[in-house]
Symmetry: C2
Subunit: 362 residues, 2 copies
Amino acid sequence: MNNYGESNGDSNVHEKQVEGHDHCENGDGSDNRVILGIDGGTTSTVCVCIPLFSSLKSLPIPPPILGRAVSGCSNHNSVGETAARDTLEEVMAEALSKSGSDWSAVHAVCLGVSGVNHPTDQERILNWLREIFPSHVKLYVQNDAVAALASGTMGKLHGCVLIAGTGCISYGFAEDGREARASGAGPVLGDWGSGYGIAAKALTAVIRAHDGRGPQTMLTNKILTALGLSSPDELIGWTYADPSWARIAALVPEVVSCAEACDQVATKILVDAVQDLALSVKAVVQRLHLCGEDGNGSFPVVMVGGVLEANRTWDIGKEVIKCIQEQFPGAHPIRPQVEPAVGAALLAWNFLMTESTENSHS
Amino acid sequence: MNNYGESNGDSNVHEKQVEGHDHCENGDGSDNRVILGIDGGTTSTVCVCIPLFSSLKSLPIPPPILGRAVSGCSNHNSVGETAARDTLEEVMAEALSKSGSDWSAVHAVCLGVSGVNHPTDQERILNWLREIFPSHVKLYVQNDAVAALASGTMGKLHGCVLIAGTGCISYGFAEDGREARASGAGPVLGDWGSGYGIAAKALTAVIRAHDGRGPQTMLTNKILTALGLSSPDELIGWTYADPSWARIAALVPEVVSCAEACDQVATKILVDAVQDLALSVKAVVQRLHLCGEDGNGSFPVVMVGGVLEANRTWDIGKEVIKCIQEQFPGAHPIRPQVEPAVGAALLAWNFLMTESTENSHS
């Protein structure tokens, strides 16, 4: 479990960590201690390593990245517990190594990971981290949406984030700490605004046009060409051959192209996706009263993920914001300038500062 | 491949078959030769063994079943090629053994199996059977819907079958042999009238009610109770834990119960499913002109599968027929009196008779 293939196989990580606890402060307010921020998604996992900056009141924005590593899926729902845990260990080890640092320097870890839907998920993943790190290391496990929110608000948990990549989720925090989410339940449970949802609807439209249940659509040629298939019949085998959601979600640009060429079927799919995504945000805003008593209060909506950032003529992200602002004019869109893994690191730093302030007052 | 664990491990099946080719005719027009009819579905595979009745002009209806065996899934899309092939071999061996017969007595095999969506699928499965049986054995591979149609028409390929169990498909034949299908593309490709589709929509409705995107519904309590869960959040982990479609489709009775209690969300899900299923049949009827030139011609609609046969107050099958008959008054519903595996056997017998008539005319 604690063997990272670095020094000797049976090294005791706890002892190593305690030895490494002897820090020397640098001139810039940092010491050799670091924070790991991790964004664990269904498609990939990113880990960044930043300095602790324990003597600063606020972090430099953006914070300096000492090391960054990328690995595969760490959603335990998708790949199973062992694979998810191995991915996390690997990506942390690589980020530390690239930082010229090691496990003993880690002071806090914040993991934003998809598949955290219930306190028991959080507990289970905390236990994985607890087996890796000694007890003085602060560990925080959040849904990946929380890290994405923090990437737009520079670590402050306020407002709502909307992620629409392969999957989709909307997650928000009120100033008083109350939180709420909508969507993010996976393809079986109807995340129709996600990249997977959009592409699955497009594939369905091709099948329906082919078997006489639906109107003809440009999507047929566009998608068959993209996949190198010659007939819609072959789509059935294609979807069964590999059930990975990302592979299906990768067809979103074809749908956008058809909508840009005014194909009605493709346009309806995107308009429905916009409604679905906006509805997810509105549900969170309403439950948390983010818009204030009069409904016009300002709040950030952090927009993350390939579906929202496509920067195409038919701009899904822009349409979603327009739809949210019709109901909540104070919704203030933010496109994060740092990646979610950095958001996770900022979050860890903010948690640490809050705890140290609370401790100094107690 | 040809080792059935019966006599010696290295017996040559081809030789066995040739020896067994020496038949003695019985008084009732049968000899010891048999036909195997197989219904290979996503949930289970059934094989029946019937006598060949080579000297009869028509089969006794229902035909006598010499042996019947049941095994698991044989859809190669779902379980992979090796598992599907093994399941088929096992179920045939068991049906033969229960019939007091053996491989050498087999004269024809008709396999109706889900996952046959393209001529290459048919070819691949024929090759599996070809490795088991010597060349004089007649082999027929069809989509499982074709066997289901034959189970309602006593082996005649005319009309349309609608299957709605875990999955759904509509499949038809015109008198001139033209065929057409609609749906049957699997959950990713939008088979919303299937048991899986109905239940997935119900689960989605529970999530939407919970996160504020949709109206409250009785489905929440009904489904959580059925699954022994305490919160809708837990549904996410539940769906991920086992992606089997049958496990999700098993929730259909809960949806029907809620619709019977006038829950609007559940009712809408069933009404939409009815429209979807009827649309599948209508698409096939239209493409094959089963309704004749004036649109009023009579044709059979064979209704198969748990979703259509539930026999509840809210009767999905009855509503589907009503919806089809609004457009095609000549649609004549048939609830098969024999199972699809028997339909496959009847189909093999009809194919054999047609071929022998053609041969005698050539």
